[in-house]
Symmetry: none
Subunit: 456 residues, 2 copies
């Protein structure tokens, strides 16, 4: 494929792309809003229509108990790799509506950006994949890889029906690599590949004594206070170097190479910018690691919520009957969530005092994910980004979890390439969501070239 021709072609189609994307954006596909069921189906149909127009074959919706999944494929590249593209057509709620400068479902150009709910997350990025595919046909080029598409309408509400679908359609979805364009680049004009995500182990830790709250005048000082015990336990979960103090917690943590840490250190980063984004007073974390390292390559433990006793306005003098902490641990390779939950529980059992009842309730978990950066698919993505953006991509990890990634990796056994074209400040879950149009057009070009590079 002639990349210059591709580029001219995409540039010549800008206005049409915007018109088509605007039509999809107009459908209010808010998955969290149960009154939008009809819009969800309409949006799935709109996606199917765009897929068929682009030349994708066997396009069909799969009904679920929630919103439909849309599948399509184009399998004409013989032994060349098969790529599964994942995206989602549902969007976040728009409240508070009053903070939108223009109506959320009317795509509006302002400056270099297109403003609308879903413009970046993820209608805009899903659309880029369809247009990358379409370009081959329009330019009379053969599609260089086998392609499969799976688009869901429940990403913003936990992808409830995706995992069972993947599990029951393993053969249909079988692929050599999964590509997801639903993440952010490290910054403007900074092509980025995300190659690692942290996993998660979530649990509830409770301390109880009496079955009822007791008057602190009548009982205070003579029985154990569950809040005190919970505080003692929580305070023992970290040491004074910011490390998680659970024995063997770090046993399976892969030590990140000097080279990778140097790469991370080379990324543009400023404390000021980080503190502005977080609103926190100071950076703080594990001794001996930078902020990005703490977020990406080190596991953490955080209490996400704590409650017990009287939590209203004013004062109430009771010994709470119970106190509870919601605890999550972010995991890194090769920690296993089940093992970590077990270590947590053992530690708690070991330090729990005999005066109260201490319980650990395991909740959900997911494994960390790492795509080898020397995988051919990552190299193809890297080459495509470098060609279009004129510079080598940044390789980053992300501190959060994308449960779909693990689902695909685990069930399909295929690596996942996170090739996102959003930006961290594009308000993907807030009012005034937008997408930087240069990334939108360049993304289409990058994806087409990525398919080509994959086949080489």
């Amino acid at each position: 494929m002639d990349y210059t021709k591709l580029s001219s072609y995409v540039d010549s189609r800008k206005q049409e792309y915007l018109n088509e994307l605007s039509r999809m954006i107009r459908i209010e596909s808010i998955s969290a809003d149960l009154s939008k069921k009809v819009e969800m189906v309409r949006c799935a149909e709109a996606v199917s229509g765009l897929m068929r127009e682009a030349g994708i074959e066997n396009v069909k919706p799969f009904e679920t108990e929630g919103n439909p999944l849309v599948y399509g494929e184009y399998i004409h590249a013989g032994d060349n790799p098969t790529v599964l593209v994942y995206g989602h057509y549902d969007v976040q709620p728009v409240d508070p509506l009053s903070e939108w400068e223009t109506p959320p479902f009317e795509a509006t150009m302002r400056g270099d950006d297109l403003y609308a709910r879903g413009s970046s997350d993820d209608k805009g990025q899903l659309f880029m994949h369809l247009k990358a595919f379409e370009a081959f046909g329009k330019l009379n080029e053969k599609i260089p890889v086998n392609l499969k598409y799976i688009f869901e309408g429940e990403e913003e509400i936990g992808s409830i029906h995706l995992e069972p679908f993947i599990r029951s359609h393993k053969d249909l979805l079988k692929a050599d690599v999964v590509v997801i364009s639903d993440t952010a680049m490290y910054g403007r004009d900074m092509p980025t590949i995300c190659y690692g995500l942290r996993g998660m182990a979530y649990l509830e830790l409770s301390v109880s004594n009496s079955t009822i709250d007791l008057h602190s005048g009548s009982f205070g000082g003579a029985i154990e206070n569950p809040v005190h015990v919970l505080a003692d336990i929580v305070s023992r979960l970290h040491d004074r170097y910011g490390r998680v103090a659970i024995p063997h917690f770090y046993d399976d943590v892969v030590e990140v190479s000097k080279e990778e840490r140097e790469e991370i250190a080379r990324l543009p980063y400023s404390d000021g910018e980080f503190l502005r984004q977080s609103g926190a007073l100071a950076t703080y974390g594990e001794y001996g690691f930078s902020t990005n390292e703490r977020l990406w390559i080190r596991p953490t433990l955080d209490v996400n919520g704590i409650y017990g006793g009287f939590t209203g306005e004013g004062a109430k003098t009771i010994i709470p009957s119970k106190a509870t902490a919601k605890v999550s641990m972010r995991l890194v390779p090769n920690q296993k969530s089940e093992k970590i939950l077990g270590l947590f529980e053992s530690f708690i059992n070991q330090i729990a005092p005999p005066t109260v009842k201490v319980t650990v309730k395991k909740m959900h978990s997911g494994e960390p994910a790492l795509t080898p950066i020397d995988h051919p698919a990552v190299k193809a993505a890297s080459a495509a980004l470098e060609h279009v953006f004129g510079r080598k991509p940044y390789f980053i990890r992300e501190g959060g979890s994308i449960p779909e990634v693990l689902t695909f990796q685990q069930i399909l056994g295929a690596p996942v390439v996170l090739l996102g074209f959003g930006l961290p400040d594009e308000n993907s879950h807030a009012p005034n969501e937008h997408i930087y149009l240069r990334h939108f057009y360049d993304g289409i070009k990058t994806l087409a070239i990525f398919y080509e590079k994959l086949s080489m």
Copy 2:
């Protein structure tokens, strides 16, 4: 007065008493709940109505910036002593509502008890005084002492407006003795006079970082978690001998005599009974002291409530922006609440880390109190109890605080007799509050005889 006639009369009125008390209970006079302002006024009116019906004179509400105080008097006993009766018509909040077996504001008889918020603390006991007074009139007996009544609606939120009222109405409230029925007997059928109360210092301790909850994937591990800091601080408030670890906390604690400790040791007490009453799994407290000593003669510190971040069902992965603990300290002679609050604040300032904002908000406080047990009013109360219950009363202290006690003692210069008819396991600040009906009826008799004995 013929005590047999009195007893028959009270017994003949049981059903009416319950009906009248139930009407007062129905008014949801939760002083901590600012949405109940109207109910507070309605309850003050209901109390006034009951006072007038009983024959009390000059009944009138005194407006405050908070809830009204209700005053009344009956001054027809010449040089005989003047008794000031204090009670409160406000009640504790009812949460958690789901734990109530019957609705908190519908008085319900179960077994030998009447269940409802306020049945024991303090509507039920306030009501007993009105009925003791009423009995004299109904039996055509002369009221043997001069009586004054002051009922407030803010006891459960620190009696904020009582002290200034007493201060500015010293002459109106002038009395030889103050009687308060808002405490518990040592056990069923165990008449009790309480001669000592702990004081109280209440505050709110908060730790905050960012102004908003943050995604724990994007920020977890790289900024300080306010819940962790709060847990660290709380865990440092006690040492491993159960002592409060605030420097100089014990400096002003009066060492209790060997004789008084021996008296305390002679009181019936069993761990089994204490654990049954409290529902706690074990006794626990300051090293070197018995349960009653821990409750009565030693100061304590308890977290009454803790909250921060996500406290709903399920899981949410955030770094809470803020975490708060409600903290109360029970004080003993001669600790001073202001000094203790100051010591607490200094200690927190000393140990607060530089990564977050830590604040201490002082709330209400009250001083500990002791009444001489050889005072004539104490002797009259003792005789009345012995007559009705058929045995000499127990002399105890109480672990709770009644800040009014010290206020009355200090401003009016009158001793306070604590003649309570509640029981330690009546859940006065918890769901399913109740009152033992035999004590309720016997209390009415005792109070009437107490007035009589006082005049002798």
